[in-house]
Amino acid sequence: MKILVCISNVPDTTAKISFVEDNKVYNKNNVQFIISPYEELALTRALELKEAASGTITVLTVGLQDAEPTMRKALAMGADDAIRVNTEAKDAMFVAKQIAEVAKNKNYDIIFTGKESIDYNGSQVGEMVAELLDIPSITSVSGIDVEGTTGKIQREIDGGYEQIECEFPFVGSGQKGIAPEPRIPAMRGIMMARKKPLNIVEPVEFTDLTQVITHTLPEAKSACTMIEPDNVGELVRLLHEEAKAI
């Protein structure tokens, strides 16, 4: 089984969000970067699938050199090799074109992404890669097993779950449930990761169709109105009369 896991390098979930260059660019100063949580779960499940059968797991990131520590972490978790497409990730279609270019002749059985990157929150790249390769995409995968060359998949849908089956190859975007917890690299994995191949490929040209022109931060909330615990009636009155929420 050959699996490709696409990894985005994102600010830690507790990171403060601020911007530079006219609010166009995220301020990376003093921010720790991590594997975006959903593909970390997808990678964890991919490793389990490989260990149960056999095969190889490749991780891929579209990004500059500063993404390499995150890629090494994926290698330390157990991926066999890594590919970095050496370019700044522009919009989702730009990233998807790069991934599809790498994947097109490699016959991956499964390509995993996360259901969304926690920075851009696009939920786009995985499905775009699938369309570029003209193969099925399964969104919001919350569980997956493999039998022979068939994926037995649970996906979340609005208001429930659907059990589906799909022959290789396909793109699956992982979400909560695909693995219970992300795998934590062991010391041995970290040592081995240093020697694993991290191949750099140059990007293909593509003009991005969308551009972020500015970012804004949410307005600060006004102070919280405090109500005494023995006066719950007042809370209900305020919610009804002032906030008109009930």
Partner: protein, 325 residues
């Protein structure tokens, strides 16, 4: 030129999210001075299809075939892209639901059209085309400019008000060829999480955290939600679903559902940054917590520093009084 809206259905019915995107797409059609056309895929009654005219649709395309019963993104993408070409649409609108997210990116590739997902407001300008979306898991917003001829948008739920705008829409059958090899995804079984309204659809969420101490105490939240009516349901913080006290579908936050209800009760929830990322678009947040320094109070509009086990019984009593008055 036209605006095309893909009107997703759930077991043959449209719901609030559908009418929100039709209202939204209609306003964009007005901005551009063109007609709004709705496209429905799957089995939906004529009466239900006709209801779309109340929110501005001037034509409804109906792609109805038993083959479309399972939502296969490749198949739906082909239908929608063909409809875009047939109607000469310059803007295509989806709901930012599981289904919308599975199809919109593929349509975007097929049509070489820029996609902005998670929009929360109307375009601020159509020339150039600029629209605002959520980013950084709700901790920031981004203004995104789309440079392609066709623009695709997915709209977050609960971010645009339903507006009536009566038209007279004809319903037309829409057919197109789908390659056989697109039907590779086989549906085996669908299980509904429950009959309750989903956390994304709900207008009121009664949410509990580790402060509630045990799964049986969540019964109080169920009771509050049921007093508040059918648009209310329960939710929770991540540890609660990790502990299996509540179903995973109720987990709210950065790694769970991102919600935007009118009213969010955070009961025994500390307000960790990953939790707040999922709820900070709520219109009103109420916090009930024993710890006066809990970060949830910084995000809340109304707060009670107190023990949930004392506050909730009075809350149940007071809400019942209000509902009976």
């Amino acid at each position: 030129m036209s605006v095309l809206v893909y009107t997703e259905n759930w077991d043959g019915k449209f719901k609030k999210a559908t009418y929100e995107i039709v209202s939204y797409a209609n306003e964009i059609a007005k901005q551009l001075g063109c007609d709004l056309i709705a496209l429905s895929i799957g089995k939906v009654s004529d009466e239900e299809l006709k209801s779309l005219e109340n929110y501005g649709a001037s034509k409804v395309l109906n792609a109805n075939d038993d083959k479309y019963n399972t939502i296969i993104s490749q198949v739906y993408t082909k239908i929608i892209a063909d409809a875009v070409n047939a109607t000469n649409a310059s803007v295509v609108v989806f709901a930012n639901t599981y289904t919308g997210r599975s199809i919109a990116p593929r349509v975007s590739v097929k049509l070489n059209a820029g996609l902005v997902s998670g929009c929360i407001a109307l375009p601020t300008s159509t020339q150039p085309f600029v629209v605002n979306k959520k980013a950084y898991s709700g901790k920031a917003f981004a203004d995104v400019q789309v440079n392609s001829d066709i623009k695709i948008l997915t709209l977050n739920q609960n971010s645009y008000k339903i507006v009536e705008n009566k038209k007279d829409a004809a319903i037309e059958a829409f057919t197109t060829e789908i390659p056989d090899n697109y039907f590779k995804v086989k549906s085996i079984e669908i299980s509904k999480a429950s009959d309750k309204i989903t956390v994304n659809d709900a207008e009121i969420l009664v949410s509990g955290g580790r402060g509630l101490k045990a799964s049986e105490h969540f019964g109080m939240l169920d009771e509050i939600a049921s007093i508040l009516g059918p648009t209310a349901t329960t939710a929770c913080s991540r540890p609660i679903t990790d502990l299996d006290w509540r179903p995973h579908s109720e987990h709210v936050g950065q790694t769970g559902k991102v919600v935007a209800p009118n009213l969010y009760f955070a009961i025994g929830i500390s307000g960790a940054i990953q939790h707040l990322a999922g709820i900070n678009s709520s219109k009103i947040i109420v916090a009930i917590n024993t710890d006066k320094d809990a970060p949830i109070f910084e995000a809340a509009d109304y707060g009670i520093i107190g023990d949930a086990f004392e506050v909730l019984p009075s809350l149940i009593e007071e809400l019942t009084k209000l509902k009976n008055s």
